[in-house]
């Protein structure tokens, strides 16, 4: 599976996209959304294209909830399978989360979800993996006693606590997504048993878009020290402000953090 995005006046539009858009924007072609899907065979030939959103008369898409969207995709994927000469779909592939890159041995995996009831797709977690070396693990070393630490020390992985699909946090000129580049807050880091420690407190995150944008939440991370291994299990529960074409709202943002190792 692959994706592409752009405008009709962009340079270097792939030939497949040119073909889709020639039909899509043909006068009289009817109402359409801004997302299309197509299936290509192993030789690169297009066997089926469809508008990603089922459209009602008058140019408005069908509601995202209610199963209509899933049914629309099932119908088109089944037709594509038939066009490819494929039989019934087999078992689903297993879940394959982002893995540690070659040459790295451990890291933190961050799952982030935005509970925006107007955009059900945002409930699907975005998963990021942060390889961690000695410098990144050092702030999580077992505290001998209760202490206060600054949230900025954990920016390498706190910076991944962003919700996907949030259009307004993108540079309008470069089209690049703003990066979370600031973490602040006084956190408590304290022993929690013979081999455990608890890191907790309020964290405020800011991104490269600047202005007065920020979002905050409560971070709670349990660190277990098991020989040479540091095992991390944590949660971040906060509020995320959206100010976009749909208006101004605040939604729950949830992050889950876990360690991974080879």
């Amino acid at each position: 599976m692959a994706s592409w995005h752009g405008h009709r006046d962009d340079a270097d539009i792939p030939e497949v996209v040119q073909g889709i858009w020639k039909e899509k924007f043909r006068p009289g072609s009817g109402d359409h959304s801004n997302v299309d899907a197509c299936v290509l065979d192993a030789d690169g030939k297009v066997v089926r294209t469809w508008d990603a959103m089922p459209m009602k008369k008058g140019g408005r898409p069908e509601p995202l909830s209610g199963g209509g969207l899933a049914a629309h995709w099932r119908t088109n994927l089944e037709a594509a399978r038939k066009a490819l000469g494929l039989g019934e779909a087999g078992e689903a592939r297993p879940v394959s989360l982002p893995a540690l890159p070659e040459g790295t041995h451990s890291g933190l995996r961050v799952f982030t979800r935005l509970d925006d009831p107007g955009m059900p797709a945002y409930f699907a977690p975005i998963v990021e993996l942060v390889p961690m070396g000695a410098d990144e693990w050092a702030p999580l070393a077992r505290p001998a006693k209760k202490k206060t630490v600054d949230a900025s020390g954990f920016l390498p992985w706190l910076s991944k606590m962003f919700p996907g699909g949030v259009m307004e946090r993108t540079d309008p000129v470069t089209k690049r997504v703003y990066e979370v580049n600031g973490a602040s807050g006084e956190l408590t880091f304290e022993p929690a048993g013979a081999k455990f420690a608890l890191l907790h407190g309020k964290v405020t995150l800011t991104d490269s878009g600047g202005g007065d944008f920020s979002y905050s939440g409560e971070l709670r991370v349990v660190v277990e020290y098991k020989g040479d291994e540091t095992i991390v299990k944590g949660v971040f529960e906060g509020k995320y402000p959206r100010r976009g074409p749909q208006g101004g709202f605040t939604f729950d943002i949830t992050g889950v953090i876990e360690s991974v190792s080879k």
Binding site: M1, H5, L40, A124, I126
Partner: protein, 81 residues
Amino acid sequence: MRHACLLAFLFALPAAAQNADAKKALDRFRELRPGDDDLAMYRLDWAPTLEEARKRASKEKRPVLFVVIHAKYGDMVTGHC
């Protein structure tokens, strides 16, 4: 003896409270950690570009599902559309 027990209890109490907070955090982690049903998007075999997808499709004799977004914010790799 009673004195020693009381002292032991008093020293143990803060550690127990800390453990209770840690246990609450772990319970919440287990509640919120996404399961396979939540992570269905990660069952898909993503390629970073159409070119990469077509190379793999030709080599592995597999079709490609290609999503085209007419927008300036449509980078699905970062979860935007």
